[in-house]
């Protein structure tokens, strides 16, 4: 099936030959000036594992680029001033109304600047998608254990990126000085005011005096377009550089082992595909910016400190914080001569603790499981029930807080009292994670005990036999349709191969073969190479889960799940790994 659609034809071969001369010249030109041939070749050959979930990080990265592009445009029209003027612009319902220059310039951007509304809305949508993508990307990293050694630093950097993204989202949301965002600024004034020791001083510095202060808008602009984006760019660069240095982790299966990377090289297929995703994301955001109204500030009106409307919520990514403010009981800490006000606990203290624990999670987990080994193969969430349960519990906690941010809307929707909703959510905030966690744990255990769960069934073909009977025969699959069967990676076993002096990454063609079931990596048999620096002498790392996995693997071997596919006999390139895959392949 391969020769047929890829046989080079004469003309193409000639064109390729001509192209090669040009490419040689270009390569030489670059190398003679910058000496970049080695690095360049490494970059072009960089392998990306093929799995859709690796696109989540790309979405975050690309929406950040879109944020910068649209943000620069929006900045040209925004006036960062709280100075009060009377509006005479294009939007009739607000003519003659007193408002800040910031609000008026946002109205002008929306109604008087050509293409202004589209780009403003694209900017807002891109921000929403940016933060959403970071969140889902983090979930992927968490539940598959991609944060384990050697990737702990990048997990922590990623959490820093999330924090900065949340901060910048809030700053940008607050800049237009409309009624809703002004209310948010007022609440944050109170939150900052409550910081022990420096609260009043800090808030005066930031806002330029008592609320609303005269410098919060210019201060926010500097932070929003300059300070925070630069911090994000620096951390993002570090994030990507570290990934490139360590290479991506990958899911088990398809010939993937702890010591190799299986996938598509950067050049040209991955570059084309990923560049295409960038444009497609840009397109989707443009469509949203054009037809899906977001943050229609002209409906809210300018900010007026004595007014507030019901049903005002911040953007969803801050909503959990607002929810925490709403669900907090009315406690306040009185110290001699000082006070830690109510707002401090839900809005700063609790998120501070949560994010610290999250940031330290890789180190905590390594300590609790005594697993200090290198991991390049990812976990299936169900194979790590404790971690999955904790993650599910945490997500539930955030979800209940997010619901809390809309308790008034929920009360109206359910036609009940706000009090009832708040008390339900207060109880759920504690109870729901305690229910969801254990249930998740049990589900994971159940799934691991059902060995066929998660394996795609082979389709059958009905064949008529010579004597007129019918028989169901498992179908031969197209090579591209081979099921990707995931096998649990062993826990805690060292995975660093023997150190090759001057070891260079080898990139070899793998042929088609490595699809299909992975080489048997049963926990019982995959014993660590002894050179691992992380092996703790005397510690037995085979846990109960491993025992289950070993049993599953053993059943597989015995043919419990039907015929095993032959493991790619013939047609393998010279560099293909041996079936055990625990050693560098030949080149």
């Amino acid at each position: 099936m391969i020769g047929g659609r890829n046989r080079p034809i004469g003309m193409r071969a000639r064109a390729a030959a001509v192209g090669k001369t040009a490419a040689i010249k270009q390569g030489r030109d670059i190398d003679e000036r910058l000496g970049l041939a080695g690095a360049g070749r490494w970059l072009l050959n960089y392998i990306f594992p093929d799995h859709w979930s690796f696109m989540l990080g790309e979405i975050a990265l690309y929406s950040f680029i879109i944020l910068i592009l649209t943000g620069v445009y929006v900045t040209f029209f925004f006036v960062d001033s709280a100075h009060e003027i009377v509006y005479h612009g294009a939007y009739l319902p607000l003519r003659g109304v007193h408002m800040s220059e910031a609000y008026a310039s946002t109205l002008d951007l929306s109604f008087s600047v050509r293409a202004g509304l589209v780009i403003r809305q694209m900017h807002h949508w891109a921000a929403v998608i940016f933060i959403g993508a970071i969140g889902i990307h983090m979930c992927r990293i968490f539940f598959t254990g991609a944060f384990r050694k050697p990737r702990e630093i990048n997990w922590t950097i990623g959490l820093g990126l999330l924090t900065l993204a949340l901060l910048n989202g809030f700053l940008g949301y607050s800049l237009p000085d409309d009624l809703v965002s002004g209310t948010g600024l007022r609440i944050f004034y109170s939150v900052f005011e409550s910081i022990p020791l420096i609260g009043p001083w800090f808030v005066y510095l930031l806002y330029g005096g008592n609320f609303p202060g005269n410098s919060i808008i210019p201060h926010m602009l500097v932070l929003h377009v300059f300070v925070v984006p630069i911090l994000i760019a620096v951390l993002l660069t570090a994030h990507l550089a570290i990934i490139m240095r360590q290479h991506h982790s990958q899911f088990p299966g398809k010939g993937a082992t702890e010591t190799n990377v299986v996938g598509t090289p950067m050049w040209p297929a991955y570059a084309a595909k990923s560049g295409g995703y960038f444009f497609m994301l840009f397109g989707v955001i443009a469509a949203l910016g054009g037809v899906a109204q977001i943050n229609p500030i002209w409906l809210f009106g300018p900010y007026d400190p004595i007014r507030v409307s019901s049903f005002t919520q911040p953007d969803w990514y801050i909503g959990w914080m607002d929810g925490a403010l709403r669900l907090m009981p009315n406690w306040e800490l009185h110290l001699p001569g000082h006070m830690v006000a109510n707002a401090f606990w839900p809005a700063l203290f609790m998120p501070g603790i949560l994010f610290t624990v999250l940031g330290a999670w890789p180190f905590l987990e390594a300590r609790l499981t005594r697993d200090y080994a290198h991991h390049n193969l990812l976990d299936r969430p169900r194979d790590r029930p404790v971690r999955t349960a904790i993650g599910a519990g945490l997500l539930t906690f955030f979800l209940v807080m997010l619901l809390g941010g809309s308790e008034d809307v929920i009360a109206v929707f359910l036609d009940t009292s706000v009090q009832a909703v708040v008390w339900t959510l207060r109880i759920s905030l504690i109870a729901a994670p305690l229910v969801v966690g254990p249930v998740t744990y049990l589900l994971c255990k159940e799934l691991s005990a059902v060995p066929s769960a998660g394996f795609r069934p082979r389709p059958n073909v009905i064949v008529r036999t010579a004597d007129g009977g019918y028989e169901a025969v498992p179908a031969e699959l197209h090579p591209l349709e081979q099921p990707e069967e995931l096998h649990p990676a062993p826990v805690g076993e060292a995975t660093v191969p023997e150190i090759v002096p001057g070891g260079q990454p080898e990139l070899v063609g793998a042929g088609r073969a490595p699809r299909g079931p992975a080489p048997p990596v049963s926990a019982a048999t995959a014993v660590a190479p002894s050179t691992a620096p992380s092996a703790i002498p005397g510690v037995r790392t085979v846990s109960r889960e491993d025992a289950v996995e070993a049993e599953v693997e053993a059943r597989r071997q015995r043919g419990f799940f039907g015929r095993r596919r032959s493991n790619g006999a013939g047609g393998n390139g010279p560099g293909r790994n041996g079936p055990d895959g625990d050693g560098p392949g030949g080149g």
Binding site: N210, G276, M339, N342, G509
Partner: protein, 306 residues
Amino acid sequence: MSDLSDVNEPETWAEHMAIAARHPRRAELVVGLSFLLATLSVFVLGWIYTQNGQPQIEGMMLFVLFGGIGFGMAAWGKWLMPKGPFVEEREVLTSETNQERFSETFQRGRVAVEGRRSFLLKMFIGVNGLMGAILLFPLRSLTDKGPKAGGPLYTTQWKAGALVVDEENRPVHISTLDVGGSLTVFPHGYTDATDDQTLLVRAATTPVAPPGRPDLEKWSPAGYLAFSKVCTHAGCPVGQYEAQFQKLLCPCHESTFDVLDGAAVVFGPAPRPLPQLPLMMDDNGYLRARAGYGEPIGPGFWSRGG
């Protein structure tokens, strides 16, 4: 070091350089068409822009433009370019030789720094700490322009005898509100002062006072009660007066205050009652403040005191 081109077995090479498309012609057509669509949308975009723009069409045309380029590229990469799978052996991050040498080099310097001159090191650390502290001073001067932090958090412009006015600076007469009515008021001349905003409600026709505090009856001429409008939770304006239940409601986080009980908190996260402004009626029937607020208004802050 091996390379793609080092895999010189023609069979293998052809195999992993194979493209994924079963019908390359059709794939080419799809890619070409999406690039063509994108090209067309550019012209529509240009035309719309000269016609003074129209957000929905702009958005959709940008979608076709970017989406067309993007889909074309992705399809090109997915179907018409070799994808392998290729296998790359991971480079080992650590090397014991280098690790040792690195540590040795580090140690060499450390001996020079710590060994004999450890008092210099301590001084160095000390002076850096002091430098950090002194560098905070310019930060502090940023606040010199405005009022000093703290002061205005304790006080408002409500003084004894201050005339109660509405948003338009009009004095409030005893006949201004009906029972069940409410109004946002300020001290005369300070209608812009956010912290002075006060909610005036008329709860009855006769003076009212919280249970157990009959002395406060003189604060509420003709049933007028005034509370700071700045919520003690997070500072939102407490703007909703439910006359039927005599409750004040803050729309931000649903804190509820009982008007007849000195604005005591009956629900929600607000930790303290809204401070009450003592009122009196002057000889012409206008409302005035009997005194200022007896405590700092609004949410708590660190230096507020217990």
